[in-house]
Symmetry: C2
Subunit: 464 residues, 2 copies
């Protein structure tokens, strides 16, 4: 009976898929770039649009104010059965450099990938609008076919994930009585590969710093002052250029303190997955792993801590030439952290590292954008086995339990504020260009993603 119901739901998903796609497109057309204040109204519009969409499932849904972009809270179910929070985000990354997009980023289309796959192209197609809508559409199908959802669901969608959830975390803390549940479902991660589903069981943390180095009190002419006045770009490049040693290890004292090697059995599993530069780096035009020597490529990409300068600027960057020694130079730097690393300690170590290398007459100002520790999820949690089985049934391949190199800081916040574990299921692929021009989501990820959630909802109803 339950199986027959599920089959009807899956059939309905396939039949209604064109409408699901149109509903996703409506959301993708809204320019909800959270990092840029110029798009604040678009963020609000996206929240209102998505709240209306969720409300149309018969869920009591509200757009809720925070100190930043609004959140969406929707509740359905009468209790007495498993109760999950579903988390996702409606905000997206900035779109620059715009000239590298093949089409306008907020005019979604279905098109053919170079290899013939059908893909949805738009900013947010995957991260995270496409992923969120796999769950929403799965719920819609259940509701349509059976009149209700198999479990109780609280929808909790935020608009500041791409800027560190600074106002969303205080919002859930302030309202935590509203968010009692058994665990959280998060749809913001990827598959192992195009055919193999995955559940993510560890996430790297993220420390994001900004620094500005000031030398002279004004811009100088290099003819007059070149050679005698310190150039802040020289200071900045010297400091940042020293962050890695010849083995590609990060040189900040204490950076690796507390970082553990993988358990031998996991290392063996990962060796067998045999991720090669040919598979992972060639599609992006590279061939040489840039991480620590002596580590597997999969370790470099997912279980080891990293450092990246995400932006750097100073002096004259227009056309032509200008012989200026600028007054200041800046950079944005982020660290992916792993279990055992304390973001606050790493921040202090980084700042000490910079300050120790600063000439006596220069100064540095620091700003921080986010600091979240790594998360290691409970591999033994009961819903994980149920979800894993449901995914395997949909995709016809064994579900991989994997570590992710990315950070979803909110997972640690859910544990800390609500005491809840998270189950991370998603349908992204490595070539989705998230945070880049020409972001895409495979049409198959979207359709089978909806079907996967329909199966998972059924499976979770059976978990006691």
């Amino acid at each position: 009976m339950a199986n027959a119901q599920l089959q009807s739901v899956l059939d309905h998903i396939d039949k209604d898929f064109d409408n699901s796609l149109e509903r996703l497109f409506s959301l993708l057309r809204i320019k909800s770039i959270s990092a840029d204040p110029a798009f604040a109204n678009d963020c609000k519009a996206a929240a209102e649009h998505l709240a209306k969409d969720i409300a149309s499932l018969g869920v009591a849904t509200e757009v809720r104010s925070t100190a930043g972009h609004p959140a969406i809270v929707g509740k359905t179910g009468a209790g007495g059965r498993p109760h999950v929070i579903f988390y996702g985000h409606y905000d997206v990354q900035p779109v620059d450099p715009l000239d590298l997009w093949h089409r306008p980023p907020f005019e979604p289309v279905v098109t053919d990938h170079a290899d013939g796959r059908k893909i949805i192209v738009a900013r947010g197609a995957e991260d995270d609008k496409g992923q969120v809508m796999t769950f929403v559409e799965a719920c819609r199908a259940w509701k349509k076919v059976t009149g209700s959802l198999p479990i109780d669901v609280t929808f909790l969608i935020e608009g500041e994930e791409e800027v560190g959830s600074k106002n969303f975390v205080p919002f859930i803390e302030a309202n935590k009585d509203e968010f009692k549940a058994d665990y959280v479902l998060v749809c913001d991660t990827g598959m192992w590969d195009r055919n193999t589903p995955a559940i993510t069981t560890s996430l790297r943390g993220l420390l994001y710093e900004e620094l500005k180095i000031t030398a002279a009190n004004r811009d100088l002419h290099s003819g007059v002052f070149g050679g005698s006045a310190m150039n802040p770009i020289r200071v900045l490049t010297k400091i940042l250029g020293g962050l890695f040693d010849d083995d590609n290890r990060i040189t900040i004292p204490g950076f690796y303190d507390g970082v553990k090697d993988l358990p031998p059995d996991i290392l063996e599993q990962w060796k067998k997955l045999n991720l090669t530069p040919e598979m992972f780096l060639k599609p992006i035009g590279l061939s040489i792993p840039a991480g620590e020597k002596g580590r597997l490529l999969i370790e470099q990409a997912s279980s080891r801590p990293t450092c990246d300068v995400n932006g750097i600027w100073g002096g004259y960057i227009g056309e032509g030439s200008k012989t200026v020694i600028p007054s200041h130079a800046s950079a944005k730097i982020s660290f992916r952290l792993v279990e055992g690393q304390d973001p606050a300690k790493i921040r202090k170590a980084f700042r000490d590292y910079v300050t120790a290398r600063l000439p006596g007459d220069c100064k540095v100002e620091f700003g921080d954008h986010s600091a979240a520790p790594a998360v290691a999820l409970d591999w033994k949690m009961k819903p994980l086995a149920a979800a894993s089985k449901a995914l395997t049934e949909e995709w016809g391949k064994e579900t991989v339990l994997m570590g992710s190199g990315a950070s979803i800081p909110i997972v640690a916040d859910f544990k800390r504020t609500l005491g809840l574990d998270s189950l991370l299921v998603g349908f992204g692929l490595d070539d989705d260009n998230i945070h880049s021009p020409n972001e895409k989501y495979d049409l198959r990820s979207f359709q089978k993603g909806i079907r996967s959630w329909a199966r998972i909802l059924a499976a979770l109803a059976e978990v006691k």
Copy 2:
């Protein structure tokens, strides 16, 4: 008789000074930024305006086309007496960062400096519109009072000095028969200090390079690729950060080849000038000389070769945070060269240095903006003694013969193409903020600059 004439000219200069100032302001109001194609029409307007001004002296003046911004050529005199070319430029540097200007850069005013000096504030107030107008106004006074100039003058004013004179040099080469003269007067340099006039007898050369390092074929998400994919900002900062050793010497192999120490007598003179960090660096908010250890500050600033990163950019530089690994990162880098250094050799050494440090799967593209060797002028040329004496008479202090840290590449071009030496006299001060926000020219520099040229014109008439 000659002295009485000169005195009348000087008196007229003082009497007419308000009008001189207004004529300078008219030129300063034109946004002749040569580096930015958006201001091409303004450059043309400045050429036409200044040509008209010179023509009003009774000089046959033309605006002449080049492959870039136009040049101005004006001729006066019937031969049989000393004949000089006067060189200057009407183009100016870009004005960014605009928010650091206290007033709009193209709305000149006379205002009070913090210490009570009267100053003219505008882009180009000194470099080089103010300086050019000291000569033009001196000629105007001679013409007005005596009906003619003491010597024959060819005015030769360009509009691309700030972008390397790329099209002006071919222009003088193509028309060199028009530019026969005894020597060149250049007004684009400074005084020793506020009260002490100077003639510049050596100039550093300039090599200006741009480079772009590309790693992946697109921007990447640091969660997915952080740790495994090379970040071009990491490559760029590592390379640029290694350009200086702990003694502040430039590490490019062969960079100092051919660079000579100062002659002992000049070194002694310079030691006596006793340029201190307190005098030279404190006004710009610094205290520690950034040049080679073991060298005098004045050597660092004027006779030693240098390297400065004038601009750097890559990745996300907007508000907030973005966890991107950019595809590429760029920098603009210039070298001030001294006698004995060949710009072409230094360019090759720099490019080899960069290429040798490039990871195997990254690539680099180079662009060059200019390459000019250093110039050492003939300290024994006869007009130099005459001009030096005239300057001493105007300022009441012995004229200093000094080396300049800046580059005026055209001086080497005049020697090469026309076979002419240059005499470099100017009235700029170290605190003029040239190439920076709030560029200024002391009102006294402008007035006594005009008077100085009036005296020099008289003195040069006597040089046989």
